[in-house]
Amino acid sequence: MFAFAVRRITQAIIVMLVIGLLGFSIKQKIGDPVRDIVGVSVSVAERDALREELGLNDPFLAQYVRFIKNAVHGDLGMSFFFKRPTLEVILSKAPATLELVFASSLIIILLSIPLGIYTAINPRNLPSRIIMGGSIVGVSIPVFLTAIILIYIFAVELHWLPSYGRGETVNVWGWESGFLTLDGLKHLILPSIALSSIMLPLFIRLIRSEMMETLETEYVKFAWAKGLSRRRIWFLHAFKNTLLPVITVGGVQLGILIAYTILTETVFQWQGMGFMFLEAVERSDTSLLVAYIIVVGALFVVVNTIVDLIYGLVNPTIRITGRK
């Protein structure tokens, strides 16, 4: 397990270096740190002096190394608009996004597993056909449209749920949480449903197809021949084997959810990282954009590494190789 973990973590570091290179290149090409600092009313000569002082005339590689060094120390540059370190800006927005992603993941996991198993066991009955048909519809409708439809039905017409914002939040050790108030939870419902609407059908389909394949295997047939109960065969023998591929794909997909938050947060005016990102694009706040890319990239890498480690725990074959 130790060797396995070390290998995974090394890979994660390499991926982060590449993400850093991409982010840095964007900054080089598009951004102008001098503008971020001084504004318009400063002369060209002064700008050039500042450029030299900041090391902006150094070779690309030297600047990249400096960029990575700073990044490791948590310095991802200053936001031109907020006049604050970008990392600080992003971290202040992160709880909103992470809570949204968490709520969506919960919806996805809690619904896709039972529905996936159900449709695999009864592939041809009416409820399964309805679920599978519905899942195609779910995949095909873009997130922003789902979000607008949800707002129209539940906020505009029925007045059941609020249509935008996070509602009342509570500050718990610097973390602005909407989980702890009724108002916050109400505000969370529509955005998290909208965000899960793309991934949920994918997960149902993935679990269903993997499960159907597992149900055809010899070891499941042998389990029937041993006279085990249906429940044990479905939920232990078949499902545990279904889980392996689902975890691998699922980890990546949950990471992609973070990217989808940009759309959802914009529609719902949800004050998270995705909303901030679009604002930063409008303001050409390059440092903030690059910092966002790097933070989200890091989140992605961390999620994937954790997923791989969990996979190692579920799959006995990997565990053994790791132990040796």
Binding site: A225, K226, L228, K240
Partner: protein
Amino acid sequence: MDHLLEVKDLEVKFALRMGDLTAINGVSFTLDRSERLGLVGESGAGKSVTGFSIINLISKPGYISGGSVIFEGRDLTRLTNEGMRHIRGNLISMIFQDPMMTLNPVLTIGTQMVETLQAHMDISRKEAEDISLEKLRKVHIPSPEKRLQQYPHEFSGGMRQRIVVAIALLTDPALVIADEPTTALDVTIQAEIMELLLELCESEGTGLILITHDLAVVSQVTQKIAVMYAGKIVEAGQTEDIIDNPRHPYTQGLIKAIPDGRNPGARLNQIPGTMPSLIDIPPGCSFHPRCMIRGDICRHESPALKNIHGYRSMAACHMLDTAEKQAGANVTK
């Protein structure tokens, strides 16, 4: 007349879009307590389907469309799912072909053994583990206490099949159905597993249905043989009768096809042609297109399995007089 198992006019069909295909067509045989029967034939003859239909576990879209399977006085084809569950793995257990595929890769051997016992008996995990250990010792697995905690991938193919044998015998079933139990193994391990199975069935008084295409194996293990062709039994009788004096031309062909080592380098005798697929089973005797002694009647009329004058075994062939002469000719040659 109290048989352990009596299969009567068993008929199995596969429901396909183009209509039902008959895979098993009127198969009948009996098995007494501690008796061993070999079901023999080429691939596609319906041996495995027959085996699986005894415990009503044919893969979809197959279903039992007729006949009965009387086991200890009960017709298994009429049992409910729950009733059948108490039979499977408890009174009748199965051994599958490929031990690499039969054991669940993500569960320990211990779990897979204990769950079988607990599915049929009201016992604690500790008691179930003790029975499992005892059975693992019987199939000669060294240090079974340690092995119980291990996963299937930590065992070799031969070891896994021993474990499968141990699982099959956990509940001391009255009948074991072994579907090609050694086909997927190395030749040396094949003999080991077969010997182990025979030894355990003999010592525990377990009935055995051995499904195989290997006549050599059958001749050493079973007392009775039923030869299947295209979903029917074409010859049935005592093992020595069928091996020494096969009556049906198909059985004769099978036996002649066994390499005997007396003439190294000589061409093996093979039966011309292949087993017909279920979609176009020829009319009349389904073997007639490949048969060397066919007559006109074979094209139109399906022969019944019947006793043959002067012999103990039964065969389904119109041309038995001719077959008899041929067998005689072979003996004199």
